[in-house]
């Protein structure tokens, strides 16, 4: 009797808590997170406990977002975007300087990094804007959307935080691309983008230029700026096909790897699990992206299609930029490896993104009917 009631409570709880969560996504995420903990255990066992707390917070945030319907989500677009831009202007005017860059805004109670907000606010805003003008998407709408994109990107780039600016630019670009901007304009943008490279180069800060130069020839300054790239490349290369084994990475355990629990955690994975381990990670990411694109393809409204598509592609961008940086084909920018790197902020942002995907998937029928 008591057992049966207990079972019913459990079943109820399961239905209410877990049903809105897309099982395939949950499975992929579960594997990714398990993998992440395996690597983190080797890289920095002291931080395991904290990361469990971070993960809990992120799951709760995801669960919360997952039940918010896309229609209600749209209401957040404008206030979040405007608020984000205002905060960015605030940073530019009154922000705290740390390591030569002005990124933080001290609100008295807590310090926030408004550029982080833009990672979610940007796709929301653009998707909302396109949804609103769904009836007539002409060049005018694309010009406005481009402006909406470039204002915050310019503010972030000026902080200077080139990495985040490029991520925000990428996510905005994905929305515009998926909304159907013509190939002609895309080609034009690509050509003029390449053409303005030399101009951009002169606008970069010294340290940004150095990062690019370091990528081209890291051995030039092996103890200075090239150190990170050289050491992480050695870690990856010395891993071989099957890796040195869990906990046996010399690069990791002799502390040659910088930031080995955060941005460079992929080097740890690569060293200890080798090409085989990398392949597993690539497959998991491919599955995650595939599932995300599938959700986007089945989404009922333009807004939810654009949201699902751009969020999925931003997961890809994080993963590609991070792995490219660690293996030495992209310059060093502060981009974490999604779902793998230690750190609360990124994890929460990512899981909110997953939550949005889940919400879009769950509500796919409701709108069509």
């Amino acid at each position: 009797m008591l057992l049966r009631r207990f079972k019913k409570v459990i079943r109820d709880l399961w239905r209410r808590l877990v049903t809105p969560l897309d099982p395939p996504l949950m499975l992929i995420l579960g594997l990714l997170v398990a993998y992440a903990f395996l690597v983190l255990f080797s890289a920095s066992v002291d931080r395991l406990q904290n990361q469990v707390i971070n993960l809990t917070v992120a799951l709760i945030a995801m669960r919360f977002v997952a039940q918010v319907s896309p229609q209600r989500l749209m209401h957040f677009a404008l206030p979040l975007y405007v608020g984000g831009v205002l905060l960015l202007i605030g940073v530019a005017l009154f922000g705290d300087v740390s390591k030569g860059a002005r990124r933080w805004l001290d609100l008295g109670v807590t310090r926030i990094q408004p550029s982080e907000i833009m990672k979610i606010a940007m796709p929301l805003m653009l998707a909302w804007y396109f949804q609103k003008h769904e009836a007539a998407l002409r060049w005018k709408e694309f010009v406005v959307s481009a402006l909406l994109l470039f204002i915050p990107v310019a503010l972030i780039a000026k902080q200077p935080d080139l990495g985040t600016a490029l991520l925000v630019l990428a996510v905005g670009f994905y929305v515009i691309f998926l909304a159907g901007i013509s190939w002609k304009i895309l080609t034009f943008l690509a050509v003029s983008g390449l053409g303005s490279m030399p101009l951009l180069w002169t606008m970069l800060h010294d340290y940004q230029r150095n990062r690019v130069l370091t990528l081209l020839d890291p051995e030039k300054d092996p103890l200075g700026k090239g150190f990170h790239i050289i050491q992480s490349t050695i870690a990856v290369g010395s891993g071989g096909i099957f890796g040195k084994g869990w906990g046996n990475g010399t690069q990791t355990h002799l502390e040659f790897l910088p930031e080995r629990h955060t941005d460079f955690i992929f080097a740890v994975l690569s060293e200890e699990f080798g090409l085989f381990g990398n392949l597993i990670l690539l497959v998991l990411y491919a599955l995650l992206i595939g599932r995300g694109l599938m959700i986007a393809g089945n989404a009922p409204t333009l807004f939810s299609r654009l949201m699902a598509g751009s969020i999925t592609l931003i997961f890809f961008t994080y993963a590609f930029v991070n792995m490219g940086m660690v293996s030495g084909i992209l310059p060093v920018v502060g981009v974490p490896l999604p779902f793998m790197s230690y750190g609360g902020t990124a994890l929460v942002t990512l899981f909110i993104g997953v939550g949005i995907l889940m919400s879009i998937h769950k509500h796919r029928m409701l709108v069509q009917k």
Binding site: T250, R305, F320
Partner: protein, 632 residues
């Protein structure tokens, strides 16, 4: 196209899905790119990175060798090492340096000069090296810091070897000093291709013997194979290869003689070089004032440095780099030239009216009314100018230059210390090279005349004078002066002798040499040096000299009226014992007036000590009476 009017949701979804497919294609392409990069690194290049990872774990930590000692001819140690504790800060790990130093000051005494010196070191060093904030900690200070060490990350106590010059200023210009390695030193190290051997070395010889014999003194750096982390922290020593200490330098220099010579100068500025004529070994090399080389070892403090930059110029090695007209010390060489070139015989005389008239210009003699009838012996003993005005005119400048050049006048001696000046041995060719304008390039016969008494264009360094004196004393057989006798490998006991380097033998007739030597002995017994050498228990030869700082153009030279720095430089050259010279020397006293007055008494004290072991009780006194004695 007006999609708004003919909206087709299916078509729109199709278009969106096409875009998704493009994106998916791009993702696959990007992942394939990543995978091929991984394949390249982990399969194709795996072996290379494997090796690099191995090397990464094992680092070679250099162990600095003990620097060789510098020892005088009698075994007195002039430069040695001692181990002491230093408090060092690693600027890139310590954080806010100013704050760290302030907190350290609460534990260990840190003086303002320590801070200043540290600041200077910070500016000079660009690497991630650790820099000393305090040196020579007492045991008590070490204990106090260790108790508080946890408060100071990036601050460490290190046991380091320090260079020490136990006699301070003694022979400072010969020994030189070491200081922290700078860019110029790195260049020298790379040129010599010994950069590996200098890993871990932070001092380098800057001047003197420390500089010249740097690569002998340094030794072979040892290495420890250590497992390290990326911060360079040693975790465990795997193997070690001990360093080989540097070689010792054993000098020809006699530190006691050096001390006597330096003390003889008292407060006066000047230089003295004493040479063993039989092999070129330098017995004493004095440049006054000296400096304390110990000040430079840990980086000199700005105050100490300012104190050394006075008008007295204690950092200038006058013995090697100061150039002075030789004055009357040139006369024995002129006389020898006359004999060798057949322009005079010893007994040939002139009548000296007190001046020499050339082209309406009176070249004056020091003695009013002249010396009367003067032969070669008297011309040297009484230092008769008129004799040499005439002689120079008869010889001509180019003959003089040709005769003097083999004695080393006007060229570097090649002594084993750097910083030698060349001086000027004037000739018609020299003047052509020296000046640009045609009328300046021409040599005037009148210019030859003052050269006869060692004035005019010719300027030589004290070591050139000493070398020429030694050559004359050794009957024309010349050796290159050197301070190091041999280099000793302290492990094997093997000695690398610095062989006496015979430069040349000047073909001189023995009878001519005898005439000159006899006249120089006369100087010290009945001539201008007689007062300074009164009662000497050995027979010596000498020659006084006065080198004009300021031309008085016909006015009478009155010491009291001439400012100190415009007073003439006093010179004296000597050799002894006369029949078998063991020592030849040149003394120069800047603004010392007449040679007999201040330079000769110094030479007397040096010779007394070297030949008789007599230690003088006080600095050589200026001989006031010599001022009135004319003819120098």
């Amino acid at each position: 196209m007006h999609p708004a009017e003919f909206r087709n949701p299916d078509q729109e979804i199709q278009r969106f899905q096409r875009r998704l497919a493009v994106a998916a294609g791009f993702v696959l392409f990007a992942f394939a790119l990543l995978f091929s990069r991984f394949f390249w690194l982990q399969v194709i290049q795996h072996e290379y990175y494997q090796t690099r990872a191995e090397e990464n774990r094992i680092s070679l930590v250099p162990i600095t060798p003990n620097r060789g000692l510098i020892v005088d001819r009698n075994g007195v140690v002039l430069a040695r090492n001692y181990s002491a504790y230093t408090l060092e800060i690693m600027p890139d790990k310590a954080g806010d340096i100013e704050k760290v130093i302030n907190e350290l000051a609460g534990v260990i005494e840190i003086l303002p000069k320590d801070r200043k010196r540290f600041k200077r070191l910070m500016e000079e060093s660009k690497n991630f090296e650790s820099l000393p904030i305090r040196t020579r900690l007492t045991d008590d200070e070490v204990a106090r810091f260790i108790a508080q060490r946890y408060r100071f990350p990036g601050v460490e106590i290190k046991a380091r070897l320090f260079r020490q010059y136990p006699f301070g200023e003694l022979a400072s210009h010969a020994i030189g000093y070491i200081g922290r390695v700078n860019d110029k030193d790195i260049e020298a190290i790379e040129k010599k291709d010994v950069a590996d051997n200098y890993r871990g070395t932070d001092h380098f010889g800057k001047t003197g013997l420390e500089h010249k014999y740097e690569f002998d003194l340094h030794g072979q750096t040892g290495f420890e194979q250590v497992e390290v982390d990326s911060a360079g922290r040693a975790m465990r020593v795997l193997a070690s290869n001990p360093p080989i200490p540097g070689d010792n330098l054993v000098l020809t220099l006699d530190s006691k003689l050096q001390e006597v010579a330096e003390k003889a100068f008292g407060e006066r500025r000047g230089a003295l070089v004493a040479i063993d004529p039989s092999n070129g070994g330098v017995l004493a090399l004095v440049s006054m004032p000296g400096f304390d080389p110990n000040l430079f070892v840990d980086g000199i403090s700005p105050q100490d440095w300012d104190a050394l930059r006075t008008d007295e110029k204690p950092m200038v090695n006058r013995a090697l780099s100061g150039t002075y007209p030789p004055g009357s010390t040139y006369k024995p060489f002129m006389a020898l030239a006359a004999l060798e070139l057949g322009k005079r015989t010893p007994s040939q005389t002139i009548s000296d009216p007190g001046y020499f008239n050339f082209g309406g210009h009176h070249f004056r003699d020091d003695k009013k009314g002249g010396h009367g009838i003067v032969d070669m012996y008297k011309s040297i003993v009484a230092s008769c100018d008129t004799y040499y005005y005439l002689l120079a005119n008869d010889l001509g400048v180019d003959n003089i230059a040709r005769f003097m050049a083999p004695f080393g006048f006007g060229s570097r001696t090649g002594i084993d210390i750097e910083g030698e000046s060349e001086g000027v041995l004037p000739s018609q060719e020299w003047k052509k090279k020296r000046f640009r304008k045609a009328d300046q390039q021409k040599w005037y016969a009148g210019e030859t005349i003052s050269i006869g008494i060692g004035q005019g264009y010719n300027t030589y360094t004290p070591i050139q004078l000493a070398q020429a004196m030694a050559a004359l004393a050794n009957n024309g057989v010349m050796y290159r002066p050197h301070i190091v006798k041999y280099i000793e490998n302290i492990r094997t006991g093997e000695r690398r002798m610095i062989e006496p380097h015979p430069l040349r033998t000047i073909p001189l007739k023995p009878e001519n040499i005898a005439v000159i030597k006899q006249a120089m002995v006369g100087v010290n017994t009945e001539g201008t040096g007689a007062r300074a050498f009164a009662g000497a228990e050995y027979v010596s030869g000498g020659k006084t000299g006065t080198s004009q700082v300021y031309s008085l153009k016909g006015a009478t030279y009155e010491v009291a009226k001439v400012k100190e720095h415009l007073r003439d430089h006093a010179l004296f050259i000597a050799f002894a014992p006369a029949d078998n010279p063991k020592i030849a020397l040149a003394v120069l006293v800047e603004n010392g007036g007449f040679g007999a007055q201040s330079a000769a008494p110094i030479a007397r004290q040096v010779l007394d000590y070297y030949l008789l072991g007599k230690r003088p009780k006080e600095p050589a006194k200026e001989d006031a009476a010599a001022e009135v004695q004319e003819g120098d």
